[in-house]
């Protein structure tokens, strides 16, 4: 937005009292019915669209339980949300290029499972290799990268439908996750392997710190890096991006790889947090629904090209607070899912109303 002050030739821009740009050019056909005062003001509005909801939730939480508004509770929310949050970053990137990846939830389970399987002794259902935990983390990242690469190649080079490819991949990966360990759970993970998910610096969980760093770096990358801007161009209009010399296929495949690697890192955090890798992690828990919900509540468009990390982060925080409040309010386990789902729908509607949907280019 700094760019508003830059020279702009002879454009006779009407200047509003606040110094921002006025609507200079005539509207294209059809004329959007909504306000034309867009640009910066609305994008800021959209980014903070969830703020009132978050404030409301914090008030409700405080009323529900005295334990809510405490540092330890917030640290707990942070630790529980950070694994999910990292997956949401990955999914958001993939949504931004106009793709979708259901298999992130299986990568989230399989990658730590493969790594743990190579780490723990045969007695604990490992394969007996007993790798060093650091090598294990490399293996975990590699599993993520390979899954993302296969997805990307099938979708981009093979021109297959992303929904079906990743749905198939989800089930294949989840099957492998149980297959390699014969449906056992792996415990007694080496401390270095679980450090990311389990350790804390003072009251602050390491996983939260890392997740925040990932959010911030990704946000800056998307806004200020050449490749980040290429992601928006590819998602907004792939044909125009290609005509402008952007290597559309390479960008897309790269994003699928990065997305899957982030899902693997999320899986590592989760494994550390619960000090185990179970067959249920990921696909069994059905986390992909929550991942999509967080991204979409945060304003990442399913059609590609729109959304940012501020939004995605607020989506994650919102869902984290909601599930925490439901825990504290001791809502019956039988009802917790229904309420969780209803809250997600409500948040979606609210985000849409406050943030407004896209206005451009609908034909």
């Amino acid at each position: 937005m700094i760019s508003n002050q830059a020279p702009q030739g002879q454009a006779p821009a009407a200047v509003r009292p606040d110094g921002g740009p006025g609507g200079g050019a005539a509207p294209p056909g059809g004329g959007p019915l909504g306000s034309r005062l867009r640009g910066m003001n609305v994008s800021v509005l959209r980014e903070v669209a969830l703020l009132p909801v978050l404030v409301l939730l914090i008030i409700i939480g405080t009323l529900v339980s005295p334990a809510f508004f405490t540092v330890s509770n917030f640290a707990g929310i942070g630790q529980q949300s950070s694994a999910l949050g990292v997956v949401v970053v990955g999914e958001s990137l993939i949504l931004l290029i106009g793709g979708m990846d259901l298999s992130l939830e299986s990568t989230y389970g399989l990658a730590p499972m493969v790594a743990a399987w190579l780490l723990v002794p045969v007695a604990a259902y490992g394969n007996g290799l007993e790798l060093s935990p650091y090598l294990g983390i490399l293996v975990l990242l590699a599993v993520g990268a390979v899954v993302g690469l296969v997805n990307g190649l099938l979708i981009v080079k093979g021109r297959l439908n992303g929904f079906i490819v990743t749905l198939g991949m989800t089930i294949v990966l989840a099957g492998m996750q149980n297959g390699i360990v014969k449906a056992q759970s792996l415990f007694n993970l080496p401390p270095a392997f679980g450090y990311l998910g389990a350790a804390s610096v003072g009251q602050l969980p390491v996983s939260l710190i890392v997740a925040v760093i990932i959010f911030v770096l990704t946000g800056l990358f998307l806004r200020y890096h050449r490749a980040g801007r290429a992601i928006y161009a590819v998602g907004g209009n792939p044909a125009a991006a290609r005509a402008a010399g952007i290597k559309v296929e390479r960008v897309k495949i790269g994003v699928y790889v990065v997305g899957s690697v982030l899902a693997a890192i999320g899986g590592l955090m989760e494994a550390g947090r619960v000090s185990a890798v179970t067959g249920q992690q990921g696909y069994g828990e059905g986390i992909i629904f929550t991942v999509f919900a967080a991204a979409v509540i945060g304003g990442v468009s399913l059609k590609g090209g729109r959304g940012n990390m501020v939004g995605a982060a607020s989506g994650v925080i919102l869902l984290g607070i909601v599930s925490d409040i439901l825990d504290l309010a001791q809502v019956s386990n039988y009802w917790i899912e229904a309420i969780d789902g209803a809250v997600i729908l409500f948040a979606l509607v609210l985000a849409r109303v406050v943030g407004g949907e896209s206005t451009a280019e609908e034909r």
Binding site: M1, I2, S3, N4, Q5, A6, P7, Q8, G9, Q10, A11, P12, A13, A14, R16, P21, G22, G23, G24, A25, A26, P27, P28, G29, G30, G31, P32, L33, S35, R36, L37, R38, G39, M40, Y224, H225, R226, A227, R229, A230, Y232, A233, G236, N237, A239, A240, A241, R242, A243, A244, G245, I246, K247, G305, R306, S358, T359, A360, E361, R363
Partner: protein
């Protein structure tokens, strides 16, 4: 409302009084009065951004005026958005096809108003009567001398046939006024003739036609009266017979805008200077072949190529023209790397350009102004500066790839200013600009990466007269000053005025070449039709040029 019969004849069929519409701070329409009688063909002209599109959307019942009224046959118009009722009076054939390609012709004709099985004569919400739908479609087609089978899937139709389906749709609803928005934009010359015949047939039957076009000669040919919009105001309404083309252009451009055009010219020079100043040293000297194309073949759906060879020298503007199906767009796309080809070779400065790789072609120095700006020209919700600099992010970013919005804006400024692009600022989304300004973004994006060859495909399609000249002259001056070659692929003959040479393609082959401007319009038209009688004269022209 339907009771107020049209047959009264005395009252205007469509009457617009004092219509106002604003978008934010922009007043798109200011007190527009317009009336249309049964059987009248009224032309509506104006530059991009004059308010035509806004008026079309109000007349189509899609958006509501802030003030003023629309009356049909003396009675107030239906509520905005009540499209069903609205269509009984006025139906719009939009610039961009509103046809569902997977449905049949009959389904598209009755889209949203399918005949009911219970009462086949009326549209109803209950079960669809396919037989009635097909029968009535056949009836309408027969009555108006249109010839498309109702069962045909619309995906198989040509652009012209799709337009016929849209007209049939308008007639099926019994609309008494048909609004044609840029109907000839994608039509070939003969199809345009047939469209004109249909329009005359409609007006003779008492249907009113509002004809919106950038092509003034069409307006003179087909319209009884013409209305001119400028900056949201209706500045002139008169019988076409009483006006000359210059009168019309003067009314469209207005006194103030002429001065603006002069400064625009100066700006264009600035853009050119920006290009020239940074041209890499060691560019080809004038006269050297920048582009060599040999034996290019392609099976593209846009038009096949069967062995096309051509040369473009430094600083030369070469036109390629022909009918839509002749491969004019295909050759441009293949050279620009936007599409692969099946045989032949493209060389830039003597080095082969890898086929079908747009990024590689761009790195080699080929700029590309695509045929359809909405599809390939820009990313709609990104800003003007970001779109303009999209091809040069590598140069603008540091070693780490960091790209600041400010640098982007500064880099884009000379190009957007040079083309007199009007926007509220570098961050304004391109979606919000008018069609002409959007095209300027597309051209600026190409000029920004300082290509040694510019491939421009129909660069002035759907652009107003003043912007058209500006765009063409900027291309010509880039060629003249920076030594870039320009390959201009266009079926609009007026684009070819800036060319040094023109190649005419017929069915994917070079039919003839004209090399001494100014080119005779009629000769060109005949050549595009591949008329053999002209080959002799063409040969003579070529001979003269050789001497």
């Amino acid at each position: 409302m339907t009771s107020s019969a049209v047959s009264s004849g005395a009252g205007a069929l469509v009457e617009v009084t004092g219509v106002e519409k604003r978008f934010g701070t922009t007043r798109a329409l200011r007190g527009v009065d317009l009336s249309l009688d049964a059987g009248q063909c009224l032309g509506l002209v104006g530059r991009n951004g004059a308010g035509k599109s806004t008026l079309v959307s109000i007349l189509s019942g899609l958006s509501e005026p802030d003030a003023g009224t629309v009356r049909f046959g003396g009675a107030p118009a239906p509520r905005t958005g009540d499209i069903g009722r609205w269509r009984e009076w006025i139906a719009t054939v939009f610039q961009h096809s509103m046809i569902v390609p997977h449905l049949s012709v009959a389904e598209n004709v009755f889209l949203g108003a399918m005949p009911s099985m219970l009462r086949p004569s009326a549209a109803g919400p209950s079960l669809v009567s396919w037989r009635a739908m097909r029968r009535r479609t056949r009836g309408i087609m027969g009555e108006w001398g249109l010839d498309i089978a109702p069962e045909t899937p619309c995906g198989e139709l040509s652009v012209e046939q799709l337009q016929v389906v849209e007209i049939a749709r308008a007639l099926a609803r019994g609309a008494r006024c048909v609004l044609l928005d840029e109907p000839t934009a994608a039509l070939e010359r003969q199809a345009i003739r047939r469209l004109f015949d249909r329009v005359r047939q409609l007006t003779a039957a008492g249907v009113a036609v509002l004809y919106i076009s950038h092509h003034l000669e069409e307006v003179f040919e087909i319209c009884r009266d013409v209305a001119v919009l400028r900056d949201g105001e209706l500045v002139l309404t008169a019988p076409t017979a009483s006006l000359s083309k210059d009168d019309l252009v003067a009314a469209m451009v207005g006194g103030v805008a002429t001065a603006g055009q002069a400064s625009a010219g100066a700006g264009g020079a600035a853009a050119v200077a920006a290009v020239e100043g940074a041209s890499a040293p060691g560019e080809a000297a004038p006269g050297d072949a920048v582009l060599e194309v040999d034996g290019l073949t392609s099976d593209s759906a846009r038009g096949r190529l069967s062995g096309v060879s051509l040369r473009v020298r430094a600083g030369e503007v070469v036109g390629v023209t022909g009918l839509l199906s002749a491969g004019v767009a295909t050759i441009g796309r293949v050279i620009a790397g936007a599409e692969a080809h099946s045989g032949g070779e493209v060389r830039l400065h003597g080095r082969p350009v890898p086929p079908g790789q747009r990024a590689a072609a761009q790195r080699a120095g080929i700029g590309y102004i695509p045929e359809d700006r909405r599809a390939e020209g820009f990313v709609a919700h990104l800003g003007v500066a970001e779109n303009t600099t999209m091809a040069i992010t590598r140069e603008l970013s540091g070693r780490l790839g960091v790209l600041s919005p400010r640098r982007r804006a500064i880099a884009a400024a000379p190009f957007t200013a040079g083309l007199s692009l009007v926007s509220s600022g570098p961050a304004q989304p391109v979606a919000e600009l008018s069609g002409g300004n959007q095209q300027k973004v597309t051209v600026a994006r190409t000029l920004a990466h300082r290509p040694s060859l510019i491939v421009a495909i129909t660069p002035t399609r759907g652009v107003d007269v003043a912007s058209k000249e500006l765009l063409l002259s900027s291309l010509a001056s880039v060629a003249a000053t920076s030594g870039a070659g320009v390959l201009l692929c266009s079926d609009e003959l007026s684009d070819l005025e800036i060319c040094d040479r023109v190649l005419v393609l017929v069915r994917g082959e070079v039919f003839t070449e004209f090399s001494n401007p100014p080119f005779d319009r009629d000769t060109l038209i005949l050549a595009t039709e591949g008329i053999t009688g002209m080959t002799d004269e063409a040969a003579r022209t070529a001979e003269e040029a050789a001497e």
